[in-house]
Each structure stands twice: as structure tokens, then as C-alpha cells.
């Protein structure tokens, strides 16, 4: 028997840490890792509400989120490696060709 707000608090902490990582990191791979932290926070919420409401839909969608996250990491790392091959850097603040 776990109280629901405790689970939601854990997920809120993970989400805001992920937001900090996305905003403060400049290495492309580390930004992708922070995005994974945020997706995990969402998954924890989905599973917690699924168990609290007694419906399996939340767990099924948590599985879908995991699959989409795997696809996203594959494409994201392919893009990062392509940028590294072309620009010799993966610092995303130096990749500003489309900025203005």
C-alpha cells in the first residue's frame, strides 16, 4: 500500500531534473539522456494511476512510451553522429545554422 502522492512526487522530481538537464547541458548525447529522464517520469505517473484506478490502459501506454523512446534514441543518436561527422562537434549551441 503506497500512497499515490509519494509516487507523483518522485515523478515530479525526475521530470524537473530532466528539464534542468535539457536546458543546461550542451552535449547532444547528454540532452538526449535528460529527455529519457522526463519520459521515465511520465511512465511512472502512467503506471501509478493505472494501479490506483484499477485499469490496465496506463500500463499499456507506458509500454508504448518505452517503444517510442527507443525509436527516438535510435534516430537522435544517428542525427548526433551525423552532426559530429560533418561539424566535428556535438555541442548543440554551436549547431546554429538555422538560428536567424
Amino acid at each position: 500500500m503506497i500512497r499515490l502522492p509519494i509516487v507523483l512526487l518522485f515523478s515530479a522530481a525526475l521530470f524537473s531534473i530532466g528539464v534542468y538537464g535539457v536546458l543546461a547541458r550542451r552535449n547532444g548525447v547528454l540532452v538526449l539522456m535528460s529527455i529519457e529522464l522526463m519520459l521515465n517520469a511520465v511512465n511512472i505517473n502512467l503506471v501509478a494511476f493505472s494501479q490506483a484506478l484499477g485499469s490496465l490502459a496506463g500500463q499499456v501506454f507506458a509500454l508504448f512510451v518505452i517503444a517510442v523512446a527507443a525509436a527516438e534514441v535510435g534516430i537522435g543518436l544517428a542525427i548526433v553522429i551525423l552532426i559530429y561527422r560533418n561539424r566535428e562537434t556535438i555541442n548543440i549551441d554551436e549547431v546554429n545554422l538555422l538560428k536567424w
Binding site: 503506497i2 509519494i6 547532444g28 511512465n43 490506483a52 499499456v60 509500454l63 548526433v80
Partner: protein
């Protein structure tokens, strides 16, 4: 407070501290290894919430596959060491935004539920029940996800192939 709850709070603390280390580590490989700790503690949290199948999928896909992909990505790119090389100049603004989001979420949570709010009953979450649900009610989203995975696979191959190999 029950034993389950103490175990969950312990796992949550471990996961939060490891997540903080992920976003503050000065060595990218250490960040990836701390990410393993965070993901594994999330898997443990799923087990405590009795979502058995999601927990094992989390361990298999996240810890087994995604972290390995991250490590490959780090090895194939030059990974500098040190805070200045890994963080940008707007760290202070990022801290403010993250704390504002955390405060907003905590306000919403305590607004919607009191702190000794609804308890989570351990309900079904085994592979049989989840599989039956996926392949009966959610079979169309399942097919869409498999098509997305195929598209991502082809996209990754096209992106990382060298152009002179036609």
C-alpha cells in the same frame, strides 16, 4: 507507513540522487552509468507498484538496450571532460526554470490529493493481463507503434549511411 512505502521512498531517493548526478556529472560515461541507476530504480518502483511486466520491459529495453546505445553514441563522438565543456552558460536560468516547474507540480499534487491521499492497491499487472489487453483492445495502437519502429529503423540506417557508398 508500511514496509512497501519505506522501500519505495528509499528507491525514489536513490533514483533522484542518481538523476541529479546524471545532469551534473563532469564525465559523460559517468552520466550514462548514473542513468542506469535511475532507470533501474524506476524499474524497482514499477515492481513495488505490482506492474511486473512493465518493470521487466523497463530493465530489458532501457537498461539493456538504450543505455548501450548511449554508450555507443558517446564512444563514437569525442567526449570532453569538465563542466565548462558539458554545460552551457545559462545554468542559473535553467535552475530557476526547473525549480519553478517542480514547485508548480508539487502545488498541483497537493492541491489535487491530500498527502495521505488515495492508496494504491496492488492490482494485476502480470504479463498475461497486459498482453491480453494489448492484443484485444489496443491492437491498433500496437500496430502503429510497430510501424513507427520500422520507420525509425529505416531512418537510422539512411541517416548514418555514408553517401559515397551508392
Amino acid at each position: 507507513m508500511t514496509g512497501h512505502e519505506y522501500a519505495f521512498i528509499l528507491l525514489a531517493l536513490i533514483g533522484t540522487v542518481a538523476a541529479l548526478r546524471v545532469v551534473t556529472a563532469r564525465n559523460v560515461v559517468h552520466a550514462a552509468l548514473y542513468l542506469v541507476v535511475t532507470l533501474a530504480s524506476a524499474g524497482g518502483a514499477y515492481l513495488l507498484l505490482a506492474a511486473e511486466f512493465v518493470a521487466w520491459v523497463q530493465i530489458l529495453i532501457y537498461v539493456g538496450a538504450i543505455v548501450i546505445l548511449f554508450l555507443f553514441g558517446l564512444m563514437l563522438t569525442k567526449a570532453p571532460i569538465g563542466r565548462e565543456a558539458l554545460d552551457n552558460q545559462r545554468r542559473g536560468a535553467a535552475i530557476v526554470v526547473a525549480l519553478a516547474i517542480l514547485a508548480g507540480l508539487i502545488f498541483l499534487i497537493q492541491d489535487a490529493f491530500s498527502w495521505d491521499g488515495p492508496k494504491i492497491e496492488p492490482r494485476t499487472g502480470g504479463a498475461a493481463a497486459v498482453g491480453e489487453s494489448i492484443f484485444s483492445r489496443y491492437v491498433l495502437p500496437f500496430e502503429v507503434v510497430s510501424f513507427l519502429l520500422l520507420a525509425a529503423l529505416i531512418g537510422a540506417i539512411v541517416l548514418s549511411r555514408r553517401d559515397d557508398l551508392t
